[in-house]
């Protein structure tokens, strides 16, 4: 056994940091935080222009000669600079799905545009009445000659207000069982009948509800076979789970709180850190964080050896999201009354890092497969317990 993590990208880190220092406007991160829109068009355009979006992609679809490892290091440094790239994350995910599921014409037309930064794809799976049960989508697609007519509503279509296309799961056939009547489409967001409405979240993110009223698209917008959308989704959901955890850089939130607790004093003059319960909680957090890291490491290791980390991925996701929330709750309590202060207050402890993570972390146990779905997977596939809900 060897638990040492080798940094595959070590040789690129310095160059990536320099790139960020040169090209990233420090105001962008603050703009993202204030607006809640986790996509910066100027950054996206720059990465496309310099060929970084196309690094590692097949040349026939517009892949560039840029070094994919350098691109990966760049993306990590951008993340470390506090910038989200949600627009690229969803676009990348769907473009990869298209490589496996789209026609040659579609691949040539769409993937090229993606890598040039012209096409930004957002996800249209979730609906007001279906989330974890993704195959229950009700948004209708009906054939009308050479075109399709789409009617319905999608929820949490993040980045739709800045994107160009939405990758949609629709119900094309009401006559067959749930999973057999689905078709996927790549719908231009500037189509007549598409409406985007802002939804603001607890974590400060701006996402959207999107409405589709008699939206007409040509048959060439259809991805995969008619009524074969569930097969396409199988591919797409694999890429959704594939996102690896970011590199750990700088002190952890718990370390920062510990450091704070060593100088902060309570009303009675005592040092916060000297409270035994504070020490206990901080130590427990460290132990759980290490377990979460190791479960993630196991997933990465299985993938690196060519295996498919199915239940291991679910386990890691479950423990990580749940333990992170427990951590946020405890850290807030350690900070005491001032823990509630927002960054705008000016004197929030640790510049409100804990309260911001606390609010952002809430969604962690919900999206990307809720904790309940993860537990179901473990219970059925690891323990061999029967499915606890009806199959339909």
């Amino acid at each position: 056994m060897d638990f040492a993590e080798v940094d595959r990208l070590a040789d690129y880190r310095q160059q990536a940091r320099e790139w960020v220092a040169t090209h990233v406007d420090p105001a962008w991160a603050e703009q993202q935080r204030v607006s809640g829109s986790y996509h910066t068009p100027a950054l996206h355009a720059l990465l496309a222009e310099q060929g970084w979006l196309g690094a590692g992609w097949p040349a026939e679809y517009g892949g560039t000669g840029n070094d994919p490892d350098m691109a990966a290091a760049l993306f990590e440094e951008i993340d470390a600079a506090g910038l989200h790239m949600d627009g690229w994350a969803t676009t990348n995910m769907i473009a990869r799905t298209l490589l496996h599921t789209a026609t040659e014409e579609q691949k040539a037309a769409i993937v090229g545009g993606v890598l040039r930064g012209e096409i930004i794809i957002v996800l249209g799976y979730t609906e007001p009445d279906s989330g974890s049960d993704v195959a229950a989508a009700k948004t209708r697609s009906e054939r009308d000659g050479e075109e399709w007519l789409i009617n319905g509503q999608k929820m949490f279509t993040s980045t739709a207000h800045l994107g160009t296309h939405v990758f949609m799961l629709t119900r094309s056939n009401l006559e067959v069982s749930k999973h057999k009547g689905l078709t996927t489409f790549l719908v231009p967001l500037d189509s007549p009948g598409v409406e985007v409405r802002a939804i603001h979240t607890l974590g400060g993110q701006r996402t959207n509800a999107t409405f589709y009223s008699d939206v007409r698209v040509p048959d060439s917008a259809r991805i995969g076979p008619v009524d074969g959308g569930w097969g396409v989704m199988h591919v797409a959901l694999v890429f959704e789970r594939g996102g690896g955890g970011g590199r750990r850089s700088g002190p952890t939130l718990a370390e920062r709180v510990a450091q704070w607790a060593k100088s902060a004093r309570r009303e009675d003059g005592s040092r916060v850190y000297d409270d035994p319960s504070v020490k206990e909680r901080l130590a427990r957090i460290a132990a759980e964080a290490e377990v979460a890291r190791l479960l993630g490491l196991r997933t990465a290791w299985i993938a690196s050896t060519g295996g498919l980390p199915g239940t291991e991925g679910s386990s890691a996701k479950l423990f990580n999201a749940e333990s992170l929330q427990r951590q946020h709750w405890e850290l807030l309590e350690i900070l005491g009354a001032e823990a509630v202060l927002r960054r705008e207050a000016g004197d929030a402890p640790l510049n409100a890092a804990v309260e911001e993570d606390f609010r952002r972390g809430v969604v962690g146990t919900i999206y990307g497969g809720s904790s309940e779905i993860m537990r179901e997977i473990v219970s059925e596939r690891v323990l061999g317990l029967p499915r606890s809900r009806s199959k339909n």
């Binding site: 510990a258 100088s263 290490e290 479960l295 386990s315 309940e372 606890s388």
Partner: protein, 355 residues
């Protein structure tokens, strides 16, 4: 990164899985109660070389910490009535302290050595693990690392102390046996800390094995037991709690293996990881046995069902170290060391505010 076991390790694990399955049957475990020690099993275990394994190569050992962890997991799976963690930790400690003469008897099992996890108070070592059956105990007495050696004879040497974990605990008066000073000063403290760390690591592994079996017992019960016309394992309230235990169990095992690897490779955080592994394993093992008891319904509290054997030990074994919250406090001081106050710009800020 490589999270796989070597061929040798897989062989070792399989061999001890077989040994404990055959020799530490649940009938033997029950028969050894309330003392919690089976002399015949102890002799057989020593005969396999398991106790000598942890010693340095020249003393007939040479196993890595990870090897020992793999054996301890199998020991824990069968809650075998022998003090594997204590005797292995003590044997290694004696060897590191250069107590060659004491080590000789330890290697072949004729001498059972153990470690006192707390300093003496009131002239005695209180509730020494395996204290009722050991001939040698290693303890930290003030600045001295000492061994107390009592005369050989039939085990147990003292009346066992009734306890719910069915552990061969006993108080050990400092006057009982020959006193040998093994080391003094900082050396003594370091040797003792390493010994305790070994105990934590091996107990973490044993608890990991214990919880794995407890989970199996619980899962097989919920697959068989019916209520309201269906197996209770089909209820979500049962399934989801079991799923959490699977994940925590996997995570705890990874942490224990990482702690062993860190010890074998001399990482500076090895002791902190052993402590984390111990605390996490203790918590997970108890939660697992508790849930399994709960899912057994009324049968869970009857002595006929085996799950109670695991439930009692899951709580009792880690308590040998005292209140786990105290261990968390000690751990915090290790993982959050004082750093120079780089961000302490208080006076400057104050001046600026005055301007």
């Amino acid at each position: 990164m490589d999270l796989s076991l070597s061929e040798d390790q897989l062989t070792l694990r399989a061999a001890f899985a077989e040994f404990f399955e055959k020799e530490a049957t649940v009938e033997r475990v029950r028969a050894a109660e309330p003392l919690g020690f089976d002399q015949e099993l102890w002799a057989k275990l020593a005969g396999t070389g398991a106790i000598a394994m942890g010693l340095p190569e020249e003393a007939g050992g040479g196993a890595s910490a990870l090897d020992l962890v793999l054996v301890a997991e199998q020991f824990g799976r069968r809650i075998a009535p022998v003090p594997f963690a204590e005797s292995t930790a003590a044997a290694r400690l004696l060897a590191r302290a250069g107590a060659t003469e004491l080590v000789e008897g330890v290697a072949d099992g004729s001498t059972l050595a153990t470690i006192a996890l707390a300093p003496p108070a009131g002239g005695r070592l209180r509730l020494v693990p395996a204290g009722a059956v050991a001939e040698v105990v290693v303890a930290l007495d003030g600045d001295d690392l000492i061994a107390l050696r009592r005369a050989p004879g039939a085990r147990p040497h003292t009346e066992p102390v009734p306890n719910f974990g069915s552990s061969p605990l006993a108080d050990w008066p400092l006057a009982d046996g020959e006193r040998i000073v093994l080391a003094s000063g900082p050396d003594a403290a370091q040797l003792y800390a390493d010994g305790r760390s070994d105990w934590k690591l091996l107990t973490a592994a044993a608890l990991g094995g214990l919880r794995a079996t407890a989970l199996e017992i619980g899962v097989s019960y919920v697959k068989a037991r019916k209520a309201f016309g269906v197996i209770i394992g089909s209820f979500q309230a049962v399934q989801h709690r079991l799923a959490d235990l699977v994940v925590a169990g996997d995570g705890g095992q990874l942490l224990t293996h990482e702690a062993a690897w860190a010890r074998d490779t001399g990482r500076p955080n090895a002791a902190a990881l052993a402590s984390m592994a111990f605390l996490f394993a203790a918590d997970t093992a108890f939660r697992t046995t508790r849930e399994a008891v709960q899912f057994h319904g009324g049968y869970g509290v009857t002595l006929e069902y085996d799950i109670q054997l695991y439930f009692r030990r899951a709580k009792a074994w880690p308590l040998a170290l005292g209140d786990p919250k105290l261990e968390y406090r000690r751990l915090a001081d290790v993982i959050y060391p004082d750093r120079p106050q780089l961000e302490d710009t208080g006076p400057e800020n104050a001046e600026q505010e005055e301007e």
